[in-house]
Amino acid sequence: MGSQSFSDALGVDYGALAPLLIVLGGACVSVLLEAVLPRVRRRSVQLVFSLAVVVVALAAVIIRATSGAGDVVVLAGSLSVDAPGLFLWGTLLALAVPSVLMLADRSVEPGGVFVADPEALAEAQERVGAGSLRSTSSGLPSGTGTDTHGVVGRRGGAGPEPTTPPEMHTEIFPFVLFALGGMLAFSAANDLLTMFVALEVLSLPLYLLCGLARRRRLLSQEAAVKYFLLGAFASAFFLYGVALLYGYAGSVRLADIAASAAGPLRSDALLFAGLALLVVGLMFKASVGPFHTWTPDVYQGAPTPVTAFMAACTKVAAFGAILRVFTVAFGTTALEWRGVLWAVAIASMVIGTVLGITQTDLKRMVAYSSVAHAGFILIGCLAITPAGLSGTLFYLLAYGFTTIAILGLVSLVRSGDGEAGHLSGYAGLAQRSPVVAAALSFCLLALAGVPLTSGFTAKFAVFSAGLADGMAPLVIVGLVCSAIAAFFYLRVIVLMYFSDPAPDGPTVSLPGPMTTVAITLGVAVTLLLGVLPTAALEWAGAGTFLG
């Protein structure tokens, strides 16, 4: 490593890297803000700052995409900023906007999901005499009062004064920014080591975010531990795969692996063993069945805004990486390994659909639905054609916004001790809150793939790409699974519209402006991409991976 190569590296294309640098830099600054700001102002400043970071980064992506700047490989070949990569970045950042809004919301329950000390808050409200507020009766679900006090003690502070606003874990903002930075790097990584580092950067904050619900501590922490243990396991698989591929190709660069595979004949054992292990790690993050087992528990246990962020953004990042690995590193050998992944795609669609039918909790249902959708998306990934690429990218965009809207709506329906996750809580929702019921129905229809919603356009794009690439059996399985899945989406709509509400059933919180904006954004994009998808489709099909 002479000085020459480093000065080359010094000539970094900052224009191409700007979104990533903005997000990661913003995350560091956000940590600093956390340190220096007084408690009362942290939330508002952090919220505005995080939003600004995301929006500026998004603007940087748009400027880059519209500037006509060519595809480049930057940072000594470790990141590739190309047209699909920019689309993935744009998708991730666009999805981050409603996610951040939902994370910061405090209107749905007192103090927000991440309130630091719900019990002290409840006491404070009682002292103020706000006995009529619902939260006072909510309490803690499992009597974990002493543990909570332990946390208070360590922080060295008593409960908040009645006059101060309830404290919340404002660390969620740097967490989200770090996770987002990891996702951006993950989907643009041009070598497997960068991809691994990005995988860890995006995963660790997510593990923590999952465990931060204070009102349902046990469920939330259980979800976090499960996610962490299985995630670490999957990371190990990924790393092992990287090692084998390095053994095969002598390089971790995606393009080098492809070149080795196309080169003189040598044993493919390492190549395919490496790919298999790599795929396990990637599929885990994308919650593709049969590597999905964490999904329902974590989706259910994590705070709903975190679930929304995970379900939308992690999927985009993971499938972005999968697309890149398949296309760039393994595109030349696709015919040899594709058969195995057919089985994975079919398993994912069937598992998600069949187990989805048996669910009685809406968030678990959404989780299994995401497994089924992962199978659909995988069809697009397996078609290593421009149509498959653009279809998959469009699918990710469409699915992300729909999911965020659904989970936002789910967070509004509340019974005494928190969200009314159970399906029975949705009986007669249309009579209590027609708007929420209508929006939820619309999003569920989008998941089912009814025309004029984004879900249909996306499915069409992916399935047509799959069929054009000779994957008729997969497409047929996909269609059958869509039909079966329609049953459980429809069941919720039936409950909401045609059943009578239980007298002691859940209430619908009036969302604050931030959740309202997030949900509206999700629903609007779902409709827009269903009716006028042209612009997004064109952007998604603007180019191919650089490799």
Partner: protein, 126 residues
């Protein structure tokens, strides 16, 4: 047959894996049979690298204060970060200005984290 030729390079590695695994298995199985069994108080204590936990937990049911682990964890974190300074120092001439900028950025991020830990009471013992 080229494939097997490529793989022969790994034969020593596999032999080493087998040896290592065999040794581990042997040690674990053999220990209960041939090892002396003498119990003392220290063996029943919480494992703390051989050092007695300090301060000794008197109250609170004999539990070690959480702060101990937190501080230890923070120490390890910052300790590991500093490892990166060694290669920089050794190659400081070759890396030039670029290296300097990079290491300042690196120290900056670590400093941010340190500021956060400090301000949020991570270093307070009580």
């Amino acid at each position: 047959m080229q494939g097997s030729a490529g793989l022969t390079a790994y034969v020593p590695l596999i032999v080493m894996f087998v040896l290592a695994g065999g040794f581990a298995l042997f040690s674990v199985t053999a220990a209960p049979y041939i090892g002396p069994r003498r119990y003392n108080r220290a063996k029943l204590d919480t494992y703390e690298c051989g050092i007695e936990p300090s301060p000794q937990p008197v109250v609170g049911g004999g539990r070690v204060p959480v702060a101990y682990y937190l501080t230890a964890m923070l120490f390890i974190l910052f300790d590991i970060e500093m490892v990166f300074l060694y290669p920089f120092v050794i190659n400081i001439d070759a890396l030039g200005l670029f290296g300097l900028v990079e290491i300042v950025l690196f120290i900056g991020t670590v400093a941010f984290a340190y500021a956060y830990v400090w301000r949020r009471g991570g270093l307070d013992w009580t």
